[in-house]
Symmetry: C2
Subunit: 358 residues, 2 copies
Amino acid sequence: MTAEPLPPGATLGILGGGQLGRMLALAAARLGIRVHVYDPAAGGPAAQVAAAETVAAWDDTGALARFAAEVDAVTYEFENIPTASLDAIEALVPIRPGRRALAVSQDRLTEKRFLRDLGLATAPFAPVDSLAELESALAELGTPAILKTRRFGYDGKGQARLRDVAEAPAAWAAMGGAPSILEGLVPFSAELSVIGGRGADGAVACFDPGENVHEDGILRRTSVPATVPAALATDAVLIAGRILNALDYIGVLGVELFVTDAGLVVNEIAPRVHNSGHWTQTGCTICQFEQHVRAVCGWPLGDGSRHSDVVMENLIGDDIARVPALAAEGAALHLYGKAEARPGRKMGHVNRIVARSG
Amino acid sequence: MTAEPLPPGATLGILGGGQLGRMLALAAARLGIRVHVYDPAAGGPAAQVAAAETVAAWDDTGALARFAAEVDAVTYEFENIPTASLDAIEALVPIRPGRRALAVSQDRLTEKRFLRDLGLATAPFAPVDSLAELESALAELGTPAILKTRRFGYDGKGQARLRDVAEAPAAWAAMGGAPSILEGLVPFSAELSVIGGRGADGAVACFDPGENVHEDGILRRTSVPATVPAALATDAVLIAGRILNALDYIGVLGVELFVTDAGLVVNEIAPRVHNSGHWTQTGCTICQFEQHVRAVCGWPLGDGSRHSDVVMENLIGDDIARVPALAAEGAALHLYGKAEARPGRKMGHVNRIVARSG
């Protein structure tokens, strides 16, 4: 697909009004692109900085059609948008990244099969639609293993870890009957992620791989550069490029990878800007948010080379109380405009430059 | 003055909805600070990215009071705000930078006297309130000289250059009877500017001096570092620091200086973020806009050290047609969301990294 780039003053619609939408809106503003946010909740993080806001449910096809009629292109900050809603929009205006990327990433089983068909290593997996299937999958993959719903999971929700086949009934019950996937656990020494961008012209540009540390299933820190051999970092970037091209992707995509004794294993992909790419705001001239806006608006990709080594730390829940101390530190703080600090809720992040690079 | 820092979620009021207000709003958003813009025109550059907007005239004291009641602090993007309007606001909420900085910078004569009393070099000057005073001032200062209204001038407006005393009647007529100031022309080899910040705690931090090139009275380019000896750059920073402290200033201030055979001469000061500081968005972790928001919100100043050498180029009027080519270049583009590209109108700027520093 090629398309005329949107001119300055055009309007980009963003599905979802959370922090990713907020930072996309800030990047769009830098480029003179107006933003119209669609979200079921009013006045959220993105709407606070957008030129226009539609407050309506995800399945309100009338509101979606009115929204689509008022914007020049649509992108999204999360991938679990109902198919009928996407249909209502796409009848009027392009959605970028496109439907294929959404279809692949909305379903863990489809995603695993897509990755495997690309020749990429994944965790061993098996579809699970019943307790009997779970038990036979456990016999095949062994334990420990992890059972996940195929759809609508994030930040460790909709998952159950199994250490023994005796835990199968409880784990299956926890999925609530939803189509699921069993994944073998992959022993890994580190988790990397690559944030890659692909323009409407097919040009691909990836940011340097970051090294992630999770706590309680939530990303805690990303450090760049990753402490891996250069050849492995190059492999990671090549994997991201292969995925971007296979999906004929337009926009920025996040790829999470495990570093194992047998090389890189792809954990999952996210067809959007990604928490593990927030370091680019401080480490690069053009950050992941601007790169995504450029791509979905049909602009050429920008210069995403890294000028500084950065450690990004998420501020989660009560971490918001650390803001005065973090402000005094002078590092680059990013807060999301969320009123209430619930446990596990991402409230902001801080980017610390640890060295100059390049 | 010391004050409790505004918490995330507090609202900063910005007087003026142009591009400086827009970039202040984007910086405030990064810190989780809501922005409420006050401007006589609806939907301007800043309002497009603000959480709230008041559209009312500068002398609408009722609207100003309602605006002030809804915000936690007020700052401004331009210095020519009527005194009565400031009174209406200040009865309810602090204005930062404070009234002294505004009083000094709103009036070129007051400003020159303030600088001279600080022991700083300025162009020779004399007050002019009549044709007779202009003629005697010309006799004292010689020609060439430049006649300026004391108030409400920017980008070369409200100014007349005199090469000969015979031009005095026409120049005085061009001032329309407004109280004016005659300034002797200072031969200079370069123009610098220093963007300095001072926190509510009295801490001062200046960005590295930039070197400016004007065309037709409008800033065209700022390059950092400036091509001057290190001692001169240090002098420039010390001058900015002296001005900030003398004004008990809270916020970011721009100081324009001439490099002359006799050292640095202060041209003018602006009690706000400044076009010649736009390079900081790409060259520093914390840019001038965030530094200003931090200061006026009572936060500690951030790390304004320079990580890259940058050339900032303004996009003026028809330059907006160059956006596709500039986008392809991959450099950091900043567009202001202005619908109409009039001659002389600042439409955006581009920051190009020319080298890594530090």
